[in-house]
């Protein structure tokens, strides 16, 4: 729909059906003027996108997990070169142990890669975010990852309002590259930079990322105007007004979080939830504003930093550092373990009752019996 001109992708579960379908569209000519490269690795996939983008073509790929890490060097390179590539990440755990199911370890491992990262809460939002991603990428000349939970969203059938092609064309204008390899006006892209200017290049990158916060919000706003539906943006709050205890999530847990909030409100617990759609750049102000009224915040994520703990939690804590809010950090749903409403409810109830200490990572869904069977207590 967004008319990519070059798709270079390498199969990996749970992304395969996305690229298979795209390859079909290209072969049948339904996706006109598009080249599909069946590359020999993810490293080649991202590298081909870099080449394509540098000569002015809209480039797209999709990957996950091991594949995302296999292309990591090129991922950092793409952002360093300021190339507006869009990539779908069908979030999946990283091995060993090898595991094809959902968590966020893959995208989180690349959170510092200089890419904009957007997380979809459901299938509709995943669709919408792709339209927005191309606009954001090309407006900022930064690459964008659209993260959608593997299997949970990639293999779900839900109702989706598919926009008309004309609407999409109006929303996603043709790609006008901000830099281009053009024989009529030769430039050198990718020069070596020493200590004399490396810091400055990085500084400018950080600045660009900062402005991208505004762009992400602006494009979501334009999207709502154009399609009459609210999707994407920086963060999305639910029943935050007068909420004492707020659950912060990203990805497909968002829906369960809203259900749990409704249930808790019925029980008289003043709960709310905040869904992070944009994780990089970190929407500091939006997070702070949304959570400033809360007394307790619990961050539930599907990844953690081994040896440290919560990843998103650190950022949340940082945004709230001078406010009287306690931040509890929790991890759950690793390697495809479903995050059930009942688990989420237990977590939020515990936090609301001040039963969960801060300063350590809480595992939402540890199977203690399994650990005991391995002799671990």
């Amino acid at each position: 729909m967004c008319r990519p001109q070059v798709v270079a992708a390498y199969p990996i579960s749970p992304q395969t059906h996305i690229v298979e379908a795209l390859s079909d569209l290209v072969r049948t000519g339904e996706l006109a003027q598009c080249e599909y490269l069946t590359v020999e690795s993810e490293f080649a996939a991202m590298s081909a996108c870099i080449g394509a983008s540098a000569v002015g073509a809209r480039a797209y790929t999709a990957s996950a997990s091991q594949g995302l890490l296999f292309m990591a060097e090129a991922v950092f390179n793409a952002s360093g070169l300021g190339l507006p590539i869009v990539m779908t990440v069908a979030n999946r755990a990283i091995g060993a142990p090898i595991n094809i199911w959902n968590d966020h370890s893959d995208a989180m491992a690349l959170r510092d890669a200089g890419w904009i990262q957007l997380y979809a809460a459901d299938v509709q939002e995943a669709t919408d975010l792709h339209l927005q991603a191309f606009v954001v990428a090309e407006r900022t000349s930064l690459p964008v990852m659209v993260c959608m939970d593997g299997f949970v969203l990639t293999h779900a059938v839900e109702e989706v309002d598919l926009p008309e092609q004309e609407q999409v064309d109006a929303f996603v204008p043709p790609f006008v590259p901000q830099q281009l390899l053009d024989p009529d006006d030769p430039v050198t892209i990718g020069a070596m930079v020493g200590p004399e200017a490396f810091t400055e290049v990085r500084y400018l990158m950080q600045q660009r990322m900062d402005t991208a916060i505004g762009t992400v919000a602006e494009v979501a706003h334009d999207f709502r105007e154009a399609f009459g539906r609210s999707s994407g943006g920086l963060v999305r709050g639910y029943r935050l007004e007068d909420a004492d205890t707020v659950l912060v999530t990203l990805g497909s847990v968002a829906g369960a979080a809203t259900e749990v909030v409704d249930e808790l409100r019925e029980q008289g617990i003043a709960a709310g939830t905040l869904t992070l759609t944009c994780f990089r750049p970190w929407p500091d102000e939006a997070v702070r504003e949304a959570l400033a009224g809360a007394r307790r915040v619990v961050v539930l994520e599907r990844a953690f930093s081994v040896g440290r703990g919560s990843i998103v939690g650190q950022d949340v804590r940082d945004s709230l550092h001078d406010l009287p809010v306690t931040v509890v950090e929790a991890v759950g749903g690793l390697g495809g373990r479903p995050v059930r409403r009942s688990d989420v409810r237990r977590l939020v109830e515990g936090v609301a009752a001040d039963l969960l200490p801060t300063g350590r990572l809480h595992f939402l869904d540890l199977d203690h019996a399994l650990l005991a069977s391995a002799g671990v207590r």
Binding site: Y10, P11, I12, S13, T16, H17, V19, E20, S23, D24, R27, T28, G29, T38, E40, S41, Q66, F70, G95, A96, P97, I98
Partner: protein, 335 residues
Amino acid sequence: MTSTRETRLYQVGTFAAGNRLLDLEDRSVQAHPDRTNAITSGHRACRGCGEALGARFVLDAAVRAAGGDLVTANATGCLEVFSTPYPESSWQVPWLHSLFGNAPAVASGMAAGLRAQGRATRVVGQAGDGGTVDIGFGCLSGMFERNDDVLFVCYDNQGYMNTGVQRSGATPPAARTATTSTAGDVPGNPFGQGKSAPLIAMAHEIPYVATATVADLRDLEDKVTRAMEHHGARYLHVLVPCPLGWAADPSDTVRLARLATESGLFPLFEAEHGEVTGVTPIRHRVPVDDYLRLQGRYAHLFGEPGRPDLVARLQAGADRNIARFGLLEEGGDRP
């Protein structure tokens, strides 16, 4: 071409004729009472999986040749997935799975680590065609070029089967896969793409390169045994039909492997230090049609209107192989 065979008359003690088992050293590895059973039964491969069959014969023969002193590295792929569903394992040999694209380098590291400890343990690396000819190819070439003491085995089912049958660099022309659908005007995988990993291996002039299939299992065992007689980098490329990916009947696996060689599409040869040292001549030549028609991945070539032009191009490819390797010439067999 006629072949002669020595006739022996077994007598059971009187003049009465009878049968007997071959001498132990003449028996196939699989017929040996103390075969390792490197991949034990109960794994989760599909019915008729050529890869499961091929890997068992390869590993058992390698273990026998190594006197039981062997470790193996395995790339991600069907073989890895179907043999190790948590918390089970089919492997009766020490076995490591690391990643999809690094099995040759992991095997190189094993060989170096063993050598550093003064151990004579042998190393076998294994991967599917994707792990070998695509994502692992850089590591594989490095292993060949350094002549690391590894036997690397590629189980070629001509596609990425584990992820649901996508094209690989070993997918033959005209085959339908999930990424080379028969929609559009290029039906199936395009002609003029793909590579011959055995020929590229030979270009590294490594001690031993061979191709084999699961149709002639004694030949497969022999080639593993011969490969294990060498040290340095060795490469074995085994054609292993995949009923799922080829859309073929599970009972046709061995038949398909045989037709692939008898049509000339998959030549069987051995090479040492970059020179072909032997080829297995075709005994009953068959047209490629016989092979193609049994497989749903080629269904679009047949029927109405069909693509006789593409079948002819595939036949021409088979003819080229036959000419190039002398597959119909007498005395083409191994010296």
